[in-house]
């Protein structure tokens, strides 16, 4: 999420408080973290606050793994998000050089393929859930 102002219009409950908390955890000082934590606690309660801290911690980890090992974007994600990455400015991140650049064709195909990709994702998720259950 490159534009924090999009949080308000996302329709996600307590988006503003969640985003402010995430920002404080990544780059804020102790006072900013404490303030954001209290606002989020009041909004979502203690269990969800713990979830928020855990998720932020998780992505502090995953981002560094990706950036420190130079992995390219996974092929399906590369194909399905080519136009969005350009639109959101993600293609200008330094670590974008680790993935092949998206051409005009890929950017044009991405919005057409995305609905299909999401359907495939759901099928894969169901299949994995069945595998785990058996």
């Amino acid at each position: 999420m490159t534009d924090r102002s999009a949080a308000a219009g996302s329709g996600i409950p307590h988006a503003e408080a969640l985003v402010t908390f995430a920002e404080a955890v990544v780059g804020g000082d102790e006072l900013q973290v404490a303030t954001a934590r209290q606002v989020l606690l009041d909004a979502v309660g203690p269990e969800a606050l713990v979830d928020a801290a855990a998720v932020a911690a998780n992505f502090e980890r995953m981002d560094r793994i990706a950036d420190a090992t130079g992995i390219p974007l996974d092929a399906p994600m590369d194909l399905l998000t080519a136009d969005l990455r350009s639109e959101l400015g993600i293609d200008s991140f330094a670590s974008s050089v680790n993935s092949p650049a998206s051409g005009a064709l890929k950017r044009a195909l991405a919005p057409l393929l995305r609905p299909l990709g999401l359907r495939v994702l759901k099928i894969v998720a169901r299949r994995i859930a069945r595998q785990n259950a058996s």
């Binding site: 999420m1 490159t2 949080a7 996302s10 996600i12 409950p13 307590h14 969640l18 985003v19 908390f21 995430a22 920002e23 955890v25 990544v26 780059g27 404490a34 934590r37 979502v44 309660g45 203690p46 269990e47 969800a48 606050l49 713990v50 979830d51 928020a52 801290a53 855990a54 998720v55 932020a56 911690a57 998780n58 992505f59 502090e60 980890r61 995953m62 981002d63 560094r64 950036d67 420190a68 090992t69 130079g70 992995i71 390219p72 974007l73 996974d74 990455r85 993600i90 293609d91 991140f93 330094a94 670590s95 050089v97 680790n98 993935s99 994702l121 759901k122 998720a125 994995i128 859930a129």
Partner: protein, 243 residues
């Protein structure tokens, strides 16, 4: 008192999180594949020191992550310079790492497997400390190292692909438990040191969702999956993570 005793913390910390943190602490103190327990704890100490490193602060705001020249504020002398630089750079400025920088660490004598194990320790500690920081909990004192020699285990199936480090494409034999079928590059990234992947999976399960359930949009916690992804997306954007 045992490590990660969350009694008295004003919010309820699930026991599975406490257990995963304790297991990481035990592994941190013990020998790994390429570093001794003392070196692994020294890596953790260096991660914490990086937050207050004057050089890292200056470089973070500089146009180039390589300038100004200088020396990092080190936590100790046990680790080679290339390891210290890698720890400080990955901790404080991960979005501007480059292949040429990685190759310099290799030319300076830090082996690829040493590097991958170091990253595995670093990212686990960053997340555990980040969790504490987010909730206003004091950082856990680092564990006492346990004596022992590294195993020097290198999985036969690890190969160079597009990433900077060798990775396993399809785990088998002793690595068969790492993942089933196809998985994301971010899971494979640390597979040159299989225990680093096991560590990652354990922490991801308690901090986010199990690796096997990431593709399932219904997998969530008290927060909805949409709320979780909002946090994930904002953290990743601030870290300028393309992946």
């Amino acid at each position: 008192m045992s490590a990660f005793d969350y009694t008295g913390v004003p919010v309820p910390i699930p026991e599975d999180i406490a257990d995963a943190h304790r297991r990481f602490w035990e592994r941190l103190a013990s020998q790994g594949c390429w570093w001794t327990g003392a070196e692994r704890v020294a890596i953790a100490a260096e991660v914490r020191r990086a937050a207050d490193c004057a050089l890292c602060r200056e470089r973070k705001s500089a146009l180039s992550p390589e300038t100004p020249p200088g020396e990092h504020d080190r936590a100790g002398d046990l680790l080679p310079d290339a390891a210290v630089d890698a720890i400080h750079r990955v901790t404080t400025d991960p979005g501007r790492l480059s292949k040429s920088w990685y190759e310099k660490t290799q030319a300076a004598g830090l082996g690829d497997a040493h590097y991958v194990e170091l990253i595995g320790i670093l990212v686990a500690l960053v997340s555990v400390d980040g969790f504490h920081r987010g909730l206003g909990i004091s950082l856990e004192p680092l564990p006492e190292p346990v004596p022992g020699e590294p195993s020097r285990y290198r999985p036969a199936g690890a190969r160079m692909e597009q990433a900077w480090v060798p990775m396993i494409a399809k785990p088998s034999g002793d690595e068969a438990d790492l993942w089933k079928g196809i998985t994301g590059n971010v899971i494979r990234a640390l597979s040159l040191v299989p225990d680093a992947v096991r560590q990652l999976k354990e922490l991801s399960t308690v901090h986010y969702v199990a690796v096997e359930k990431v593709a399932d949009p219904s997998a969530g916690r008290t927060l909805s999956r949409a709320q979780m992804e909002l946090i994930a997306g904002r953290v990743s954007a601030l870290n300028e993570c393309f992946y």
